[in-house]
């Protein structure tokens, strides 16, 4: 039988998705269901002094209006520390020095205080979504307005120095005081990245219904287990009473990674009203009520000798978080690991702003951080008149000097070599503005990308039924990554079955636990569990006296074995252990992006005509879904480089482009050729598959590779994204 792992298998969930067979949270329609929509605050700081909902309540179809005035009594909707700890608001709070008054996170509808514009201040429940919207438009609110701040202001801001976040110290100083020595070249620049919105295709929605004491949520989340935990805590019911289902997720990118209040609120309302309730986030809510990537400002200083050996790397990030929350962009992560400078000064300063709480967004930290770091390297290369690829080769980090550990495996040099060859990288210094073709200036740029490879324990259940059904169940979610497919591939290989004979069921908290799909850990967490389940199955069969080991010679199917032995059903579970404990190693993925841009300066037209990315993500389980992940990441990078930018109104401190008409992301016509190359060497010290996750590594570095190419084409250095025509002219 042909091995399924390593083969470019089509997505098994592809057909249901494109034919409408896949049911998303908002597709669920239950008997007697109600619909809920929230009202957003129009001010960014202050207090609600009056909220008048009578005419909303009188609107035809409206069933209830909840706000801070009645939610506590009517919904038992109460802010509590145990709840905060499980919510998106809390992520990062532990990095803030205690002592200083640590904020409590915010929970909508619990107080009249306003912390940011767009904050939910009321929710209308109605017989239809139209009636709910209609009701929302009829609520009258009077505010007392305070001064708000949504931009960084070095002098006026109260800067906090966070301690430990994302597995790293946020204040690292190694070696001497950061000074450039005699004879060294240096660059020192400030880089800025804008606020970015996740805006997955599927807006979040939670449909909750109660059956006696049991509540079921049809939800759109990257983590059903974490959601169950939060919702149970909020409802004050045992978690066995809560079931969260998220079989399909129409993209998350981090916006559905943490748990947000709406997920519990739907259940509270359904309980209070005794009917199923769907709480629907609007496109605008997706910009405000489920996180975003904050803007950043980063100072980078590099000092190197004339041969390009980097001795000093200083990377100081100034980033915001919300008034009540904790998440901030840990921009310095890659600076700790790449390029091995003997003197490191990588620090973060955080300031509280009247913005919604930021949250992880596809490669948080690494994405904005790599824009600064990889731009600075390019600037250094130009100062040295050196090929930027050669500069990176000369500073290859042969080990993880920050953690003082070896890499489990690191084929970055191979990525450089294969990527450059496929791209036809010039391999010499190309001065800016030296290539013109017709009306276009042409430029080449490159950047390194790196991303950690975590893993957490997961459990997978396998059910084999004599009628020929093999069912795989785990609470892991497939957020478009390909989890359905690679799980089937794994079990197919172990049991000698065709993928088509396997039924994979995901995203249900009643299935065995698996971690939230985030930080590129699902492959390395779930596949080993699936394999364990297959091993348990064999053991169990052996115990029953029916040993099964498929060989090319014996083509007896496992089902005929069950039939022969009169076993109607076998159910087993397998659990993985998370990070390997036997090695003290750093587990990372690496890669390099090579980009060609074309700029028609007369008419300000910028095109990313070609991208080649070579990646070392260990063994590739499914080249097709893996390539699609990386391409998606690169498209994100193109959007970040050229278009994406959340913009606040300068007077009202309110996000104005909270919709897809004004918040620009690339369309198909913006995307040129993308060529993805995998080194495909197994990282056997990581797991038995040798596979590392790859959902995020495509994003970091891409924006810098593009702006580096723009510099090569035009001689104009873009240090503040996005690189629009206006910025380039």
């Amino acid at each position: 039988m042909v091995k399924s792992i390593g083969a470019p298998h089509d997505r098994i969930d592809g057909i249901p998705k494109v034919t409408g067979g896949a049911t998303y949270a908002a597709d669920v329609k239950l008997e007697g269901q109600l619909y809920a929509i929230a009202l957003q605050s129009t001010i960014a700081a202050g207090k609600i002094v009056a909220l008048e909902s009578a005419s909303a309540e009188a609107t035809p179809g409206v069933v209830a209006v909840y706000s801070h005035l009645n939610a506590r009594q009517a919904l038992t909707w109460i802010h509590a520390d145990e709840l905060l700890a499980l919510s998106a608001e809390a992520l990062g709070l532990s990095a803030f020095p205690s002592g200083s008054s640590r904020p409590r996170g915010y929970l909508p509808l619990t107080s009249p205080e306003i912390y940011f514009a767009g904050q939910w201040i009321a929710v209308v429940v109605a017989e239809s979504i139209e009636a709910a919207r209609h009701g929302v438009g009829r609520i009258k609110v009077r505010y007392e307005v305070d001064a708000a701040s949504v931009v960084m202001n070095d002098e006026k801001d109260d800067w906090i120095e966070p301690t430990f976040f994302f597995g790293a110290d946020m204040q690292v100083q190694r070696g001497d005081a950061p000074k450039t020595r005699h004879g060294e070249v240096f660059i020192q620049e400030t880089y800025a990245t804008p606020m970015q919105l996740h805006q997955p295709m599927e807006p979040s929605a939670t449909t909750a219904y109660w059956d006696g004491d049991d509540v079921t949520l049809f939800d759109s989340t990257q983590g059903v287990v974490a959601t169950r935990e939060y919702v149970a805590q909020s409802l004050k019911v045992p978690k066995e009473k809560v079931r969260v289902i998220s079989a399909y997720v129409g993209g998350g990118f981090g916006s559905k990674n943490q748990v947000w209040p709406h997920q519990a609120l739907a259940a509270h309302m359904a309980r209070a009203l005794g009917r199923p309730v769907r709480l629907q986030l609007t496109r605008s809510d997706m910009a405000l009520a489920s996180g975003h990537r904050s803007f950043t400002e980063q100072d980078v200083r590099l000092s190197a000798d004339r041969d390009g050996k980097i001795r000093l790397l200083q990377h100081i990030s100034r980033v915001p978080t919300s008034i009540q929350g904790g998440f901030f962009e840990p921009c310095g992560l890659n600076s700790l690991l790449l390029y091995g400078a003997e003197e490191l000064d990588v620090r973060h300063r955080v300031s509280r702003k009247n913005i919604p709480t930021p949250t992880p967004f596809r490669a948080p930290g690494e994405t904005p951080g790599s824009f600064a770091l990889e731009s600075a390297l390019d600037e250094l290369a130009h100062t040295l008149k050196m090929d930027p690829l050669e500069l990176r080769r000369r500073n290859f980090p042969s080990r993880d000097s920050y953690h003082d550990r070896d890499w489990s495996s690191n084929h970055l040099l191979e990525c450089y070599r294969l990527g450059a060859a496929a791209f036809s990288w010039p391999g010499r210094y190309v001065p800016p503005r030296s290539i013109r073709e017709g009306s276009e200036m042409v430029g080449y740029g490159m950047a390194t990308t790196a991303y950690p490879a975590p893993a957490l324990p997961a459990t997978v259940k396998l059910r084999l039924q004599v009628q020929g059904r093999a069912i795989i169940e785990t609470s892991a979610t497939d957020i478009g990554t390909g989890m359905y497919t690679i799980l089937a591939q794994t079990v197919a290989d172990e049991l000698g079955l065709p993928v088509s004979q396997l039924e994979v069921r995901l995203g249900d908290s009643s299935f065995p636990n698996a971690p939230t799909a985030g930080r590129s850990k699902s492959t390395a967490s779930v596949l080993p569990a699936a394999r364990q389940a297959c091993l348990s199955l064999r053991e169990k069969l052996a115990l029953l006296g029916a040993s099964y080991s498929p060989t090319p010679q014996s083509n007896e199917s496992i089902f005929s074995l069950l039939e022969r032995e009169a076993i109607p059903e076998v159910v087993v579970e397998g659990t993985s252990t998370g990070m390997p404990r036997e090695h003290d190693l750093s587990f990372y993925s690496f890669g390099a992006h090579f980009v060609e841009v074309r700029v028609d300066e007369e008419i300000g037209r910028i095109r990313v005509s070609r991208v080649v990315s070579a990646l070392d993500c260990g063994r590739i389980i499914n080249p097709k879904t893996a390539t699609s992940q990386i391409k998606g990441g690169i498209v994100f990078g193109i959007g970040m480089a050229l278009m994406e930018q959340g913009e606040f109104d300068p007077i009202h401190s309110r996000l104005i482009n909270d919709n897809l008409a004004d918040y620009h992301i690339p369309v198909n016509a913006d995307i040129g050729e993308i060529d993805v190359i995998f080194i495909d060497k197994p990282d056997t010290r990581f797991n038995e598959f040798g596979a590392r996750g790859l959902g995020e590594i495509g994003v970091p570095g891409t924006a810098a590779a593009i702006t580096n190419a723009l510099y090569c084409a035009t001689g104009k250095r873009i240090r503040s994204l996005p690189a629009t025509a206006a910025a380039l002219l």
Partner: protein, 325 residues
């Protein structure tokens, strides 16, 4: 969305009567109207669906090309007579929106679509166009995409339509009907600059229906082309656009029309400036002189001044004949 009454007359006279009701709005493709109703910006008490009227013909009538008000943007864009007699019009339409929207959107609706000013599109902001007298949030706000030509202290919103720019370059007419009769207005006289009344966008009366658009068939119009510049390759309104038509005798320009979009509160054209091109060769200098005259009245903010550079580039590019869209 506020509840409304819905009528769908099949006869043009019935439509003309129905639209006399106060608070009524005509529904064609609905791609602009329904969107604004959902945003709460439009709240008609009666929606008069005109899709049953026979107004989607595209035909040559004598020395004019006639395009019915209900002709879809997609159909007009690829029509042979349009490509032959007014290529800029087809190109402008194809450059707009997306395939699905162009299939639903009509020519009449396109001419009357509202501005894309973000502040206009949400009831939460002060906006003189939406709510006369409430102020203009854009002037002190984010105005990267706003107008640099024809602005006033009340409003700086850009006119969004691509086809209107092309129609201005080819000297088209808009035909209107009401119970009182029919009339024809040159597209150059159709749109109103905001002045003190930005809520008044055109000269069309509340009881009037657009029946068709008429384009003169001329040698000049047959040379027309459209170039649109924007932040991404498709599915986006113009940062700057230009419709040009030019007739030459040898090297000498004998007739020229240049209309600009994305910069003005209305589609922009200056016939006096065009005279600077006529009787001369097209050179860097003559084009520069023309642009200087065309943009002399411009008033930009630091964040939207790039539009002038883009428009100048687009004019140079199209007049020198390298237009591609």
């Amino acid at each position: 969305m506020e509840p409304f009454e819905f009528v769908r007359p099949t006869d043009i006279q019935d439509v003309l009567v129905a639209i006399r009701r106060p608070g009524s709005r005509i529904l064609a493709g609905g791609t602009s109207l329904v969107d604004l109703m959902k945003l709460g910006v439009e709240a008609p008490s009666t929606v008069v669906d005109i899709n049953a009227l026979p107004l989607s013909m595209i035909s040559v009538e004598g020395d004019a090309l006639s395009i019915g008000a209900l002709a879809s943007n997609s159909d007009v864009a690829v029509h042979r007579a349009v490509k032959q007699h007014a290529p800029a019009v087809g190109q402008a339409l194809l450059s707009g929106a997306s395939g699905q929207i162009r299939n639903a959107a009509t020519v009449g609706g396109n001419l009357l679509q509202r501005t894309r000013c973000t502040y206009f599109r949400s009831r939460d902001w002060p906006c003189n166009k939406r709510e006369p007298g409430s102020g203009c949030a854009a002037i002190e706000g984010v105005n990267v995409g706003h107008a640099v030509l024809g602005i006033s202290r009340s409003c700086i919103a850009v006119h969004p339509s691509d086809i209107a720019v092309a129609l201005l370059a080819v000297d088209a007419y808009v035909h209107l009907a009401s119970v009182a009769g029919e009339r024809r207005i040159a597209i150059g006289d159709f749109y109103c600059q905001p002045g003190d009344t930005p809520s008044v966008e055109t000269v069309i009366g509340p009881n009037e229906l657009i029946t068709k658009v008429e384009i003169p068939i001329t040698n000049l119009n047959a040379t027309s082309s459209y170039l649109k510049l924007r932040g991404r390759a498709s599915y986006e309104f113009a940062s700057a656009s230009v419709a040009t038509a030019i007739l030459r005798d040898g090297d000498i320009v004998i007739d020229a029309a240049v209309a600009v979009g994305g910069l003005g509160t209305v589609p922009w054209r200056n016939r006096t400036a065009e005279k600077l091109l006529i009787g001369k060769k097209l050179t860097q200098e003559s084009i520069l002189a023309f642009c200087d005259a065309l943009f002399a009245p411009a008033s930009a903010t630091p964040s939207n001044t790039y539009k002038l550079a883009l428009a100048r580039g687009a004019i140079h590019r199209t007049l020198r004949g390298g237009a591609e869209w």
